[in-house]
Assembly symmetry: C2
Homo-oligomer: 174 residues x 2
């Protein structure tokens, strides 16, 4: 039973519209990059996307992927996220619920969550200080269930240079 969302443009339409409005041009590279980005439901870096694109068209350069991801972000299709390892990850943004991240400092697992209560308090806090809130970023680090059982070392902090070893995406509703 497929539920068809009406009244929503799909990502490709959004992209073409943005390109037109901004007086930019549609190219084969941009189409390919968008297509691969859309079918990859994970947090990926420009580098990651670059290699996926390479498989289909080795002539596409790093630079174009970087520039296109910025473009997708401006078009509202992608969102930049940072997990503390000094890399910029991108995730789908359009038609995707806003969410925050819970990151395991042992194995790098990432759980997405959404808390309406926290959202409301954030907005309230911004207003309390006279701000009109535009966006926010909440990241919680900790040790996940699996790692609590296998590891008994001291908790690595962001500063200690712990590198995520795996990055699992788990979508969890409200």
């Amino acid at each position: 039973m497929t539920k068809i969302k009406e009244g929503y443009k799909n990502e490709k339409e959004i992209f073409l519209e943005h390109i037109q409005k901004a007086g930019l041009r549609r190219t084969a590279q941009r189409d390919l990059i968008l297509e691969i980005f859309l079918k990859t439901e994970e947090h990926l870096t420009s580098e990651d996307l670059y290699w996926l694109v390479q498989k289909q068209d080795p002539s596409v350069g790093h630079t174009t992927v970087y520039r296109t991801l910025k473009l997708l972000t401006e078009a509202g299709l992608a969102r930049e996220v940072r997990f503390g390892d000094n890399k910029t990850y991108y995730e789908h943004h359009y038609n995707h619920e806003h969410h925050d991240h819970l990151i395991c400092t042992e194995c790098g697992k990432v759980v997405e969550f959404f808390s309406p209560e926290i959202e409301a308090m954030q907005d309230a806090t911004a207003h309390k200080f006279g701000f009109v809130p535009t966006h926010h970023s909440l990241r919680l680090w900790g040790i996940c269930e699996d790692c609590q059982q296998t590891t008994h070392e001291s908790h690595p902090s962001m500063a200690s240079g712990a590198q995520p070893r795996v990055r699992v995406k788990t979508v969890v509703g409200s």
Copy 2:
């Protein structure tokens, strides 16, 4: 009426203790860097601190400042923060209330705030997913009161490359 905190070691003691425990050595550079860091109640980058240190001792190198900031972080005296401009800022950590940041995307102003309610919900959320929380980062971006009156441009997003023009620290209790 000065309130003397008893039962709390001061930062310099903490630092020396950490150095001893780790089998490291006390040096003039480390002392100087710590001292300047402590008297600067602002968010600063390694670069910023480097120039402050330069004024007192031009022989100190960039590298040492970087390394010492890492050391201070490990000792629990400093905390790394990122505001979205791809730089690592440091702020005091020991004996300082934990707090989060509200950042103006127009002028770069930073307001520090603390919300026990949000804190509690964050911990609850982590536990809900089986995580033992270690630390977190909450950043709210928006347009501050001053900028709402002077600016009527579109809201710059993190991705659009808006650069903070001023960085004001405002400490606000609970």
